[in-house]
Amino acid sequence: MELKPIITVNDLHFSYPKRPVLEGIDFTLRRGEVVSLLGPNGCGKSTLIRLILKLIHASQGEIWLNEKTLHRYSHREIAEHIAYIPQYNNVPFNYSVIEMVIMGRISKLGFFAAPSASDYTIAHEALERVGISDLASRPFGQLSGGQKQMVLLARALTQGVDTFIMDEPVSGLDYGNQIRLLELIVSLSSQGYTFLKTTHYPDHALLVSSRVAVMNGGKIIADGLPEEVITPEMIRSVYGIEADLIVHDTHIRCLPIFNKGTL
């Protein structure tokens, strides 16, 4: 059975002055999928995500969110459908973890309303789900990169939506936190959440994705099942390196081939 589309992108173009970034993107995110956008630096992955979140505007083409085109949604209405998890970064004021997480409830609050006790309950439950409930009163700025990323994921959970968009979620995380975050994505996916995430790692895309879209030069050059899309030929053509695909513990893994002394 065909899964119901959440986001549909038709013939999308985007340019900065004198520099085209996206050239005719067609893409669909369906309910229940975990889709990885894979591609080298500057290929337009983050731009596509920013367009889908209406943070920037396309020069041509259209984006549909459920039944309506994106320009008919306010940011508040988009936040009622999609949660965005940016790469963690420093914030100028050192909010506590619970203050960061409760910000996910803002789209649910009336103009004069403050977060209620039930909003705080939802926020604490979200912290529990990502396994950091003991950090609730800690200052966000004093957390490790991995903990910060978990806080942002908890904030997304408090938004009460089932579609998450993540921009390079493992960027800057240590090896263990990278794997823990990927495991959490798989776990949430099994509970019905939909993910669209950008990644630099073909191996991570193979581990967690139900579908992979490969971008290069502002276009989607391949879109399909991870094991069909991620091939040594694709790695060579997109990244200019050789890689082997091996099977380990039922998973197909991607290993780059390291050539010593090639320079």
Binding site: L53, H75, R76, Y84, P86, P92, N94
Partner: protein, 339 residues
Amino acid sequence: MKNIKPISWIIGSTLLLIVVATLSLLWGQYPITLDTLISYLQFKAFGGAGNDTYTMLDNIILQIRLPRVLLAILIGSALATSGAAFQAMFVNPLVSPGILGVLAGASFGAAMGMLISDQWFVVQLLAFAFGFVAVGVAVLIGTMVTNSRSTVMLVLGGVISSALFTSMLSIIKYLADPYSTLPAIVYWLMGSLTMADLHGVLLICVPMLASVIGLIVLGKYFDLMSLGDEEAKALGINVTMVRLGAIILATIASSLSVVMAGIIGWIGLIIPHIIRMAVGPSHRLLMPLSAIVGGAFLLLADTISRLAFSVEVPIGILTSLIGIPVFIIVLKNARAAWN
């Protein structure tokens, strides 16, 4: 201190404000005892047999001290909440209410009013109007130069606008009569609450209070605004409207403070820092506490300026003299509250 409940902070700071306000009403060249004040208030509230003392207190309290107390509270609140709002909006803890040029513009307007008219009303009107003109120029430059809504361009627009109106203020000073108008302009720019009159204070208290309350209501959005525009939008905030609302409210509040009392610096910068150190950075508590403590701080400074010296020191000088060492202490400890 962060374990204290928000409501306790609000109640505690309100009590502090009441104490400072009471002391300010009692202390002065003609000291009044608390008993006298209470019996006077009872007389005003419930009536009864009046006497000569009450007639004199009518003059001292209602005409002189009460307007000044109310004005100090209003201006302190306005500047502190405007500063806190701008610090969040520009994602920079070192921003003060004058960042978009409102103080420079209002100063120019007031000085021009003094140059072209004898009417105090004209001075006030021009001060208020040019506060808005200066902010309008900053916003125009900020959005036109790069056609972007980035806050960096807005800040640069504010720098340009401030420089422009400061230059024009210099022209006014240069043209002003050096024996009458120029001293008036210079003295007025030092900031003073001596012009407070009950009628004027009651007139401006509505827009000023409305601006302060508006900024407090927007407080819950400032937490998100301080994460940057894109994150705030993705969390469901109409960033443009919140920013526009905050700029308009802060400009009304700051312009009116210049209209009534000239330039009073540092409050918008240091009060939010002090509050952040005590209760953390969340703007839902920071904004109302900034309003209350900002009011109490300026009132205390004004009371000191009235009493501590044989000649009344302009309040703008005193807030600077108090503000600078406080800011140095605050900076030393502030790293915990902002990264």
